[in-house]
């Protein structure tokens, strides 16, 4: 062991203690790390390294022991090569100027001049005397201060609190220096009250034990262990169990040099106050542990941690702490009982007097908007629908369908949903009332929770009380995400309203400024949507919900922030997913498709992509894709209207649930289940734009190529058809305007492929079709790729339509071998311009097929 060698063979141990007034508990652990890091760095500059660095922190001292330092640094000889001895005088002069030496100082070896500097070893004590002041001056305290007479200048020393003394001993000798007005020595003090006098430290070896003898436990871990064990035993001694709390251990260990956990009891009548309130009061305000009784209920006991071993065993200390807690709890009880006397709805007039934001009216106005939106989210089936996992066939029974299209079409909403909507609205209307209660006024961190208690006490439905309680969630990263539908509706509505309304008033987060915590709200929305697998197309919500009208009532026209908001959500989602370990290039690859506003679908696609590109097929397909894309780029091959991604389809599905595209929705569900979806889709695609009052922008009203789901089928067909009709000489995508060419799935020769008996004949037919589309006989590999695309394209499209992104990836994977074969056997750049054009078109088709799944050009590797 290194320690055993100390003091022999010229190795020394160094002790440093920086003693100050009380260091905040929360800074002590980090300070130990910083001390070790800075100290090691300073030593390294002189070529010194300790075998071991140990650090300690207490409220009053930051200490370091460096073991096995040499007593002096090594002598170093440095040589700098100069000009040849025969070089012209100018070269020599330049070298002498650079090195600051004279000609006779240089050494000649093999006809070359060298400047040689011998750096003698330095005494380690000397190095330390410079290193420690440098460490002190550079110390990165989160907050540092000036003090004393020297602070008449702002250049005066800074430390976390006034620095009082420095012990610096190399073995048994003081390393003399002065920093921040303090001269180093061997003297320190013991415990502030048990041993206030000066004590002299001998060396690093007796530091810990000498202080222990003076009631100072320098090792924080030892103090924490003492508190943990002591508190546990104290609780057990009273027949209770301690509610363990790591944070409190650190905090109390950081507040004591000689911790003494003591158990006290409080008046059990306080237990009528909600346990969260008691625990919060005890923990946050007093740093006490709490206990549970045998039934697991909060007990009328607390454990405080004193910093002295009191002469009376701690009776007076416990009594004092009991009084403080009693005072706090009686305050809490007063608030609780007073608050209970008023019904939450009767607090509404007070909310009308509280300005939420100068541009956004009062809190009552906000409540109104949130209530409307929460109801709407339920009525739309966005919240409260049964989960609709991406890869499971939708249920055939429309009454249990997540999007209850028939009900909506019939103008009726199921009684269950109506009840849910009522509860969501009720909860939203009461959710902010606790802001004007006494308890929340006193403990703002209890907002929501208290509302939940008060709602339950006044007889609201449990779902409503729960929603009020949890509607701020999720707050932080580790916070639970609500799952109860009523809660989700209110939580989502509250956050959506905040984000939308602040954005609509141009109060967006910028840089480090986010005064309304909108980023946190966005993250909350993202987590609510993802963890509940909500089908929540944001564009539709933001553009359709009637709550928005309330924002603009009687006010100026503020403009629509939807596009900015979608970008904002996208940014937050990227950040969140990156933190969750999803490859950012894959996120980009899916985002690059644009338009997707359904997070669940978007992430399903990203995850499928991540699964795919890490397989051999995926990697090879990526390589093939890149090769194709490079060729197209090199040849300057552009597609005037390359088919767009299907992702814009997003809004449509739920939009359909709005009642305007009934046939589509129910048809899709059935069609998908029956494996004959294409025809249905097509007909719906044609119908949807004409749907009266359709709230959803559809292809014909959007930019050309702003396709939706259903058009995708047509689009696939267009590709094929285009190739057919345009005789291979014109651009194969010329017919790619999806609006222009009516296509039906029945024309797809491969629809029946899976059905066995017809496979061969259909394939033959298809081959002849392909051949006809070209004015030349395709090479086998060329034909194989076309055939593979004919199969893969509709498969991928259907898989995407079904949100089966693994299936879409699998369809793409089937292209891998044909692509490889094509590149192996076929010359794209054929002398015959017809062949060349057709082959480039084929590569463009490959690229387009891949792009329907993700923009592979964004994928690294």
């Amino acid at each position: 062991m290194a320690g055993a060698l100390s003091g022999v063979d010229g190795m020394s141990d160094f002790l440093l203690e920086l003693r100050s007034e009380e260091i905040p508990a929360r800074m002590q652990e980090r300070a130990r790390e910083d001390l070790a890091k800075l100290f090691a760095a300073e030593l390294a500059k002189a070529g010194l390294k300790a075998a071991e660095l140990v650090t300690y922190a207490t409220p009053r001292r930051l200490a370091l022991i460096a073991r096995d330092l040499p007593l002096a640094t090594e002598a170093v000889r440095e040589e700098v090569k100069g000009p040849r001895a025969s070089a012209p005088p100018q070269a020599l002069e330049g070298f002498l100027r650079k090195t600051g030496l004279a000609r006779e100082d240089l050494v000649e070896r093999d006809g070359v001049l060298f400047a040689v500097t011998d750096k003698p070893g330095r005494a380690t004590a000397e190095v330390l005397a410079e290193a420690v002041p440098a460490v002190v001056r550079a110390f990165p305290w989160p907050k540092a201060m000036r003090w004393g007479a020297a602070s008449v200048s702002t250049e005066s020393p800074r430390w976390v609190r006034p620095l009082q003394g420095i012990v610096a001993l190399l073995d048994e000798d003081v390393v003399p220096f002065e920093v921040a007005g303090v001269t180093s020595g061997a003297a320190t003090v013991g415990h502030r009250f048990h041993h206030p006098g000066v004590i002299t430290i001998g060396s690093a070896h007796d530091y810990v034990e000498k202080l222990r003898a003076c009631h100072v436990i320098v090792d924080g871990a030892e103090r924490r262990a003492a508190i943990a064990v002591g508190a546990k035993l104290a609780a057990q001694g009273a027949g209770l169990s301690l509610v363990e709390d790591e944070g409190l251990l650190f905090e109390n260990a950081g507040l004591t040099e000689f911790p003494m956990p003591l158990l006290g009891r409080f008046d059990e009548s306080f237990l009528s106050v909600p346990p969260e309130v008691i625990q919060l009061t005890a923990r946050v305000n007093q740093k006490y542990f709490v206990c549970r009784d045998a039934d697991g209920k909060l007990a009328d006991a607390f454990v405080c941690t004193a910093n002295i071993d009191a002469e009376d065993g701690g009776d007076k200390i416990v009594e004092g702490n009991r009084k403080v807690l009693a005072a706090r709890l009686s305050d809490a009880k007063f608030f609780y009982e007073t608050d209970l006397k008023t019904r939450l709805e009767d607090l509404s007039p007070k909310l009308e007097k509280i300005v939420f934001h100068e541009k956004l009216g009062t809190v009552a106005d906000k409540v109104d908007r949130v209530a409307k939106l929460a109801r709407w989210l339920v009525e739309q089936g966005i919240v409260g629908a049964r989960e609709a996992p991406a890869h499971v066939e939708l249920p055939l029974d429309p009454s249990s369908s997540p999007i209850d299209a028939r009900d909506i079409a019939a103008g009726t909403v199921s009684a269950d949903r109506e009840r849910l909507a009522d509860m969501a609205e009720r909860a939203a209307r009461l959710a902010k009332a606790d802001l004007v209660t006494g308890m929340v006024g006193e403990f703002p961190e209890l907002q929501g929770l208290m509302g939940g208690y008060y709602a339950a006490a006044q007889g609201e439905a449990p779902e409503v009380a729960e929603a009020i309680c949890d509607h701020y969630k999720p707050v932080g990263q580790g916070d639970d995400v609500p799952t109860a539908p009523v809660t989700v509706a209110v939580a989502l509505a509250d956050k959506l309203d905040s984000i939308y309304s602040f954005f609509s008033r141009d109060e967006k987060p910028t840089g480090s400024k986010d005064p309304f915590a909108l980023r946190r709200s966005a993250l909350g929305i993202i987590r609510l949507v993802l963890e509940n697998r909500l089908r929540a197309p944001f564009r539709y919500i933001l553009e359709s919900a009637d709550w928005i009208a309330l924002l603009d009532e009687g006010g100026a026209d503020w403009g629509n922030p939807t596009n900015d908001l979608l970008d904002f959500f996208a940014d937050r989602l990227k950040v969140q997913q990156r933190e969750a370990g999803v490859r950012h290039d894959l996120i980009d690859a899916v985002f690059a498709l644009g338009g997707e506003d359904d997070l669940v679908r978007l992430l399903a696609r990203v995850h499928a992509l991540q699964g795919f590109v890490t397989t051999e097929d995926g990697a090879n397909l990526l390589a093939g894709y890149k090769r194709a894309a490079n060729i197209l780029k090199k040849e300057g091959y552009t597609v005037p209207d390359e088919p767009r991604s299907p992702v814009e389809a997003g809004a449509r599905q739920v939009g359909g649930a709005n009642g305007e595209a009934t046939a589509h929705v129910s048809g899709e569900a059935e069609g998908a289940a029956q494996g004959a979806a294409i025809g249905v889709h097509r007909s719906v695609a044609a119908n949807a734009p004409d749907a009266p009052g359709s709230a959803v922008p559809v292809g014909s009203t959007g930019t050309p190529g702003n396709l939706r789901f259903q058009d995708e089928e047509a689009n696939q067909a267009v590709d094929r058809q285009g190739t057919t009709e345009h005789d291979g000489t014109s651009h194969p995508f010329a017919g790619g305007q999806p609006d222009g060419i009516p296509q039906t799935g029945e024309e797809d020769p491969l629809v029946e492929v899976e059905q066995g008996a017809f496979t061969d004949s259909v394939a033959a037919f298809a081959r002849s079709e392909r051949a006809q589309s070209l004015s030349y006989e395709p090479e086998p590999a060329e034909d194989a790729l076309m055939a593979a695309l004919d199969v893969a394209e509709p498969r991928a499209a259907k898989a995407i339509a079904d949100e089966d992104f693994e299936g879409a990836m699998a369809a793409l994977a089937s292209l891998r071998a044909p692509i490889d074969g094509f590149f192996d056997d076929v010359t794209v750049n054929d002398a015959d311009p017809v062949k060349r054009t057709a082959r480039l078109a084929l590569l463009a088709r490959v690229r387009a097929a891949v792009h329907r799944v993700a923009d592979f050009s964004r994928i690294e590797g």
């Binding site: 000036r146 004393g148 602070s151 200048s153 003090v189 200390i317 009594e319 004092g320 807690l325 005072a327």
Partner: protein, 310 residues
């Protein structure tokens, strides 16, 4: 320096606990003996002793300044109609301001606790991080709340900035919560049971009725239109005083605006969002007064302390 407290603490513990007024007198003696001016309260409504010009304005500039005083404080929202044994809307702080902060400030402070009868062998004194900030004064400092058996009895602060200006040098500020300390020393559960003097008069006899009436007025009666009007007028008067080159009257108006704002808060008519705006207004007034004070005094300070700059 250190050992004597222990002895003092022990000896004080055996004698009769100090009455409220005796405790104040003892602190006056203690700090007077250590070179402090003993000042009287500022004759305006304020939320904390820190607002006393002996603290705010004197914390600025290079001149040494050591003073101690009692300051009545008004915090309308803390009123409990005399029903809560620990909360008052009117109470006393004991303030000590020492500029520059002496090296043994913690020891001096502990000595004062020992002087009023706190026994360090039986009571747990701790320095718990509490970075003080007064947005309305544009001031901040680092320090602690001092706990005695879990109760915050003192705020201990090294001022770093006041009115938005660096403190050069830094002043140490001690703010004792007198009622709390007295409850401790006298072992009383209710502030109203404190012995005010040694002749049987309690704190409740002096102040209970005041708490009941003032709580009612603060929370229920005070006319908010009048208060809003007063706020506006104080702000305007502050600005007029500043324009007239009179920082002290300007500062007084800023204090007045600050207290009016606190009353409006108690009436519950200021929202979270508006709150920021009102506080910003008061801060600007207070900072303006501090800036004017510095501007007026700087030539004098520089004459006495060559090289000093704000």
């Amino acid at each position: 320096m250190l050992d004597p407290f222990r002895a003092m603490g022990q000896s004080a513990a055996v004698s009769e606990p100090l009455s409220f007024q005796r405790m104040i007198l003892t602190l006056h003696d203690y700090w007077s003996d250590r070179g402090c001016l003993i000042l009287q309260p500022y004759d305006m409504e304020m939320g904390a002793g820190t607002f006393h010009t002996a603290t705010t304005l004197r914390a600025l500039g290079p001149e040494p300044w050591n003073a101690a005083f009692v300051q009545p404080c008004r915090r309308p929202t803390d009123g409990r109609y005399g029903e809560n044994p620990n909360r008052l809307q009117h109470y006393y702080q004991y303030q000590v301001i020492l500029k520059p902060s002496p090296a043994d400030l913690q020891e001096l402070y502990l000595g004062s606790l020992a002087a009023i009868g706190i026994d360090f062998t039986r009571h747990d004194i701790r320095f718990v991080e509490d970075d003080w900030e007064s947005p309305t004064l544009g001031a901040w400092g680092l320090g602690w709340e001092v706990w005695c058996d879990g109760m915050e009895v003192t705020q201990f602060t090294y001022f770093q900035q006041m009115g938005g200006f660096d403190c050069k040098p830094v002043a140490g500020e001690l703010t004792y919560g007198l009622e709390r300390l007295a409850m401790y020393i006298q072992n009383k559960d209710s502030v109203y049971d404190l012995a005010f003097n040694d002749a049987g008069v309690t704190y409740g006899e002096v102040f209970h009725e005041n708490e009941v009436q003032m709580s009612t007025w603060n929370f229920e009666v005070a006319d908010t239109d009048t208060l809003f009007d007063q706020f506006r007028k104080a702000a305007a008067e502050c600005e007029r005083s500043l324009a007239a080159g009179l920082p002290i009257p300007a500062y007084e108006q800023a204090i007045k605006a600050s207290h009016t704002f606190n009353l409006l808060q108690a009436r519950g008519v200021i929202s979270v969002a508006e709150r920021q705006a009102y506080m910003g207004r008061v801060r600007d007034l207070a900072k303006g007064a501090c800036a004017a004070w510095i501007e007026k005094k700087t030539p004098e300070w520089q004459a006495r302390f060559p090289g000093w700059t704000a």
